[in-house]
Symmetry: C2
Subunit: 407 residues, 2 copies
């Protein structure tokens, strides 16, 4: 019998994800992975979940295990609305199967084949993957530490469907938008008639002070706001949400219903039970303190190990990642096998660019590895860079036999 399949154009274009392949590589024993964006399992409130499971099944078992409304569990929607720093009606909150699903739904509702969609340079790889099935033309807006470049936005903004932006401790760079940059961006987007899709999975993970108010708080009707429970509670429940203007909500809801009917009702009730009574106020400061400490260890190790190598990096004020730039002429993708051979893995920055990539960049996560692993990993990365550095042109000397040793 024959195989009769015809793939869609989008499926023909799908390629294995770089991050997926690397994560496989780093599952080898002995490799220190600074690659994955996995929250520290030490922060998962396992006991609180165990208690919540027992309670939800004892008091509300049949409803928790039944089909449920596509909008999400009422008390969880109310919790989300109440904790956001602007006036949000729970009826505007759609609970999603992780915030990754919110990206899929946004794509379905806002992107036609060929639509122009703007993203930061660089941006979250998963967003590029989520939007891709709708066949947009994705363009990276030039970015500085102050966010999207206003001149480039003026050029690209008109007729774009939206700008996707992560203002807090961005994945992959760890950078954040200042108060001034946020004000300017919202005003410019409004002038341009450019909707903003604001993704905020990391906003609670600040080190010393909370970030400025979200873009959505400044212009709710012009923004979609995506949030996640993965970084402050646990990713394995797959709980996220999108807050939508009333004009967009019904369409997102219908896309949600078609995508998976609803997010697991059991999981929503678990989160709701765990989050009661100020759990976040006790829990999240511990996560912040851990990540701040681990970030400091990584920055110290970088300062200690990378001296004189011509490597640049930033010092994030929160989140899970920092961004590193190798010396001129070096390529982070090409260097990865050598790093893995020395026992450390990272994600080459190239994966995070919508169009032309800076091959010197790479992303480091400081949240999954232990302090000792971070120190060893950065030392191994420095050794990898040192070995790959072009040697200074040697003054020829009369010892040709030894060149093989030092090459």
């Amino acid at each position: 019998m024959s195989t009769p399949w015809t793939l869609s154009r989008r499926a023909e274009r799908m390629n294995p994800s770089v991050i997926r392949e690397i994560l496989k590589l780093t599952a080898q024993p002995g490799i220190i992975s600074l690659a994955g964006g996995l929250p520290s399992p030490a922060t998962f409130p396992v006991d609180a979940f165990a208690q919540a499971c027992a309670e939800v099944l004892a008091t509300d078992g049949p409803a928790a295990l039944q089909y449920a409304a596509s909008e999400g569990h009422g008390p969880l929607r109310e919790w989300v609305a109440a904790q956001l720093p602007w006036a949000v009606d729970p009826a505007q909150v759609l609970i999603t199967t992780g915030s990754q699903q919110a990206l899929d739904l946004v794509g379905k509702v806002l992107i036609d084949s060929g639509s122009r969609v703007l993203v930061e340079t660089p941006t979250y790889l998963g967003a590029l993957q989520a939007f891709a099935p709708m066949e947009p033309q994705i363009e990276g807006v030039a970015c500085t530490d102050e966010g999207p470049d206003p001149d480039d936005l003026v050029r690209r903004g008109p007729s774009a469907r939206f700008l996707y932006v992560l203002p807090n401790f961005q994945n992959p760079t760890g950078r954040s938008l200042s108060e001034g940059a946020r004000q300017a961006l919202v005003q410019q987007a409004d002038r341009l008639g450019l909707p903003l899709v604001e993704d905020n999975p990391y906003g609670e993970l600040w080190f010393d002070q909370p970030p400025p108010a979200p873009l959505s708080a400044r212009h709710p009707d012009g923004c979609l706001y995506l949030g996640s429970f993965s970084k402050v509670l646990a990713p394995g429940l797959r709980l996220g949400y999108v807050v939508a203007p009333k004009a967009i909500f019904p369409k997102l809801l219908q896309a949600k219903q078609a995508a998976d009917l609803h997010t697991p009702g059991f999981n929503q009730r678990l989160a709701s039970a765990v989050l009661r009574d100020g759990f976040m106020e006790r829990h999240v400061p511990r996560v912040r303190a851990l990540y701040r400490q681990q970030c400091r260890v990584m920055l110290d190790a970088l300062g200690h190990e990378m001296g004189g190598l011509g490597v640049q990096w930033n010092a994030p004020e929160g989140g899970m990642f920092l961004w590193l730039r190798l010396p001129e002429g070096m390529d982070a993708t090409a260097l990865l096998p050598q790093a893995v051979a020395r026992g450390v893995a990272y994600v080459p920055g190239a994966a995070f660019y919508a169009d032309s990539a800076d091959p010197r960049t790479l992303r480091l996560s400081f949240v999954t590895a232990s302090e000792d692993q971070i120190r060893s990993g950065i030392a191994a990365l420095a050794a990898t860079v040192r070995e790959a550095l072009p040697r200074p042109t040697a003054v020829p000397v009369a010892r040709p036999q030894s060149s093989g040793v030092t090459a």
Copy 2:
């Protein structure tokens, strides 16, 4: 500030689901709903889940709450492969967030804008909704009790991307394909080069004897097979799966990763723990016995109440639904408000047709309501039909004023 949103074409075309709106209506107290496809909560193994929650969190908590592989949890994939009645490699099993998500992924991987997709007449509404975002041209193949009409398949098969088919206790009709019909369909599909997408959420819910082997068992390379834990375990966990030929699996996997990264790992471990040690062999017979009994009650009530009304219905051999046809000239959508006024709800059949609908049809579920509710609901439905029947043409008499009363 202005609202700058431009919706995609597919979003512009989205309309509120008929079923959604009806389910809202039937949430009113006192309405007996024979509409929803909700498994009986009496069948949910709440205690087994409570035990599994405690065990999973105690022995494997951090991993259960962490990000996980997009393919799904290894032991659950192995369980699925082992219980299917043909040789399936666990590497071909993709765990999905309910089998509804498998429909979304299938659409992404196999449908381009304008692709011709074939479905049964009528078919599962959720599949029509899941495929719609990929903008196919969906065509209903003429169907009899023996399944898709071979002559119509010959006409429509060439150049169609696939035929979506539910061979067991179909939603909405409750009908099943015989052994002969399955053999003929698989052979014809192979001759036509027509892939089959086989959806089997209800196959375990047989009353007196198991259905014939799935289509996929007869031609694994030409079929995608969708399964679900919603009907035999619990829908609120959102666990389903798709079994794919090796040529298609990597594309479905990438679409899955982009859609929600992975299905909740906690839920997958719960199912895996509950399913160990032959749970299904003890549990599913109880579900079958309950549904068989409730179906019998509904069939008895229909026989008792509908006599002489010209209503037709079928007697399913399993599943959750039966299909009813109102007398000539009646319209099930138009009749629904009158039925609800009498305290009973159903789903008008029109929702389940890809193209031209039979307005006389409607779907009844026999699994959610109790036996007493089924009897009362069918009595109310019969009264509704009786009231709506065209009166026999009266011999004109000399009382013109009263015509308004009997019209």
